[in-house]
Symmetry: C2
Subunit: 235 residues, 2 copies
DNA sequence: CCATCTTATTGAACATGTTCGTCGGACGGC
DNA sequence: GCCGTCCGACGAACATGTTCAATAAGATGG
């Protein structure tokens, strides 16, 4: 807005600046993301927006990953948790909640990446955990298993989204198949790697979301079938 | 080796330089990692080691993540795949292979993080995939499900390791419990979040490796119980 | 044997994350 | 009301990833 910073005099002697706050920083970061895109939400750009220097932010935020995790936490407010208390099959409702979570992540895959190393722990995240735990409880999953199940469920969802943070080629859809993996599988030696060769492109095929839904069902079924102490139910 | 670059004259007019190669770059990167630690394996440091500029590396490697993924691929040579063809319960052997994989990752968690966004696709990785597929086949897992199961299995292992790339506090073991999550769970409202409150510290307890082993069993059992088309076996 | 073209290479530049020593104001004790 | 202490804020600095236009070397064609 300012047609070039009016006076380059030291910020130190500005009269009344609204004093930095964690909440203020995160709020500004979210707004910046919505207006200019996530890749513009850098420490420096954010500091500029707050009319200060980058170093000042480090008093409230440990690093960029934590900042991004804080943004994600805010975005998690958009996750639809109404299914948690709705009627119907609990599995379907649980998958619905997880799907809603992944919608948010797939919009901003690089946030998912940050969330892996600096997990959010704000109210929206806790509400999500609570909803999943309630659904698992409703499904008769023992507490011990539910505590870890919620972990894997969110881990798989988050990691799957994070995987897509590299794929960018926005225009050409055919280009996303140029992955080295696809090429490597195609040129594999059928003698040394019979199974890989037999499955071929099945290994890399399938829409991401379809896969993820299957993953969720695997985890739910597996949780029901796997007590904490013994490794497998029939071993 | 050179006791301080003898002559700082332009590299351009050096006589015979061994010509950059992808293999050479990765080999040097691995050596550098073993001698100086992973955090020293930067584009600039690596270029310096190869007596060239950083830009030259980008002809062979797309970015740092891909470089790190290439390093991991080399390290995967240490994964013990002998269990794949051994005798005994296939589940136990499958978990043994996956455990061996995670040992490598837990040594260098930040490599796991890179591997999430830029998956390795070299011979060692393919051998690992082949081994897992063979074991799933031996267990009677249908091909369609096996193709996706190998994906989740490796995803969970990799993501779990990546989660640990932040935890650093090498000396004080008690400090790793200062995670915001733990605090958030402790101070949760029992009325709004009954399930979370009930489980309490169970949500964050458990040795990482014990958890991961349980995850593996969940995935194996779940894969056996979850066909590709229908969501759940009893729905 | 020379002209031309392709391609790897490179130096320089820019934006970023993060740290450090210092400074200034606010707050509490007297 | 004064002073000393403490802590947040800040400017500057350094290392990093990544891009780009220019250049040299080798291949190709005549």
């Amino acid at each position: 807005m300012s047609p070039r910073t009016p006076a380059p005099r030291s910020r130190r002697e500005r009269p009344a600046k609204p004093a930095l706050t964690y909440e203020g920083i995160v709020h500004t970061a979210v707004r910046l993301m919505q207006t200019e895109g996530l890749q513009r939400v850098t420490m420096r750009r954010l500091a500029q927006e707050l009319d200060t220097g980058p170093a000042s932010l480090y008093v409230y935020v440990a690093n960029t990953a934590e900042l991004h995790a804080a943004i994600l936490e805010k975005l998690l407010g958009a996750v639809d948790l109404t299914q948690a208390t709705a009627a119907g099959d609990w599995r379907r409702r649980l998958v619905a909640v997880l799907d809603s979570y992944t919608w948010v992540l797939f919009e901003q895959p690089s946030l998912a990446q940050s969330a892996l190393v600096a997990r959010p722990s704000g109210p929206n995240y806790l509400a999500l955990v609570e909803a999943i735990l309630a659904l698992l409880h409703e499904g008769g999953v023992p507490d011990e298993q539910a505590a870890w199940a919620v972990d894997v469920l969110l881990l798989v969802a988050t990691a799957t989204a994070a995987e897509h943070s590299a794929r960018r080629s926005a225009d050409d859809d055919a280009a996303d198949e140029l992955s080295y993996l696809t090429a490597a599988i195609a040129g594999v030696d059928p003698v040394k790697h019979p199974r890989t060769s037999a499955l071929g492109t099945d290994l890399v095929s399938g829409a991401p979301r379809e896969r993820l839904t299957w993953f969720f069902h695997v985890l739910i079924n597996g949780t029901l079938a796997t007590p904490r102490r013994a490794g497998s139910p029939d071993a």
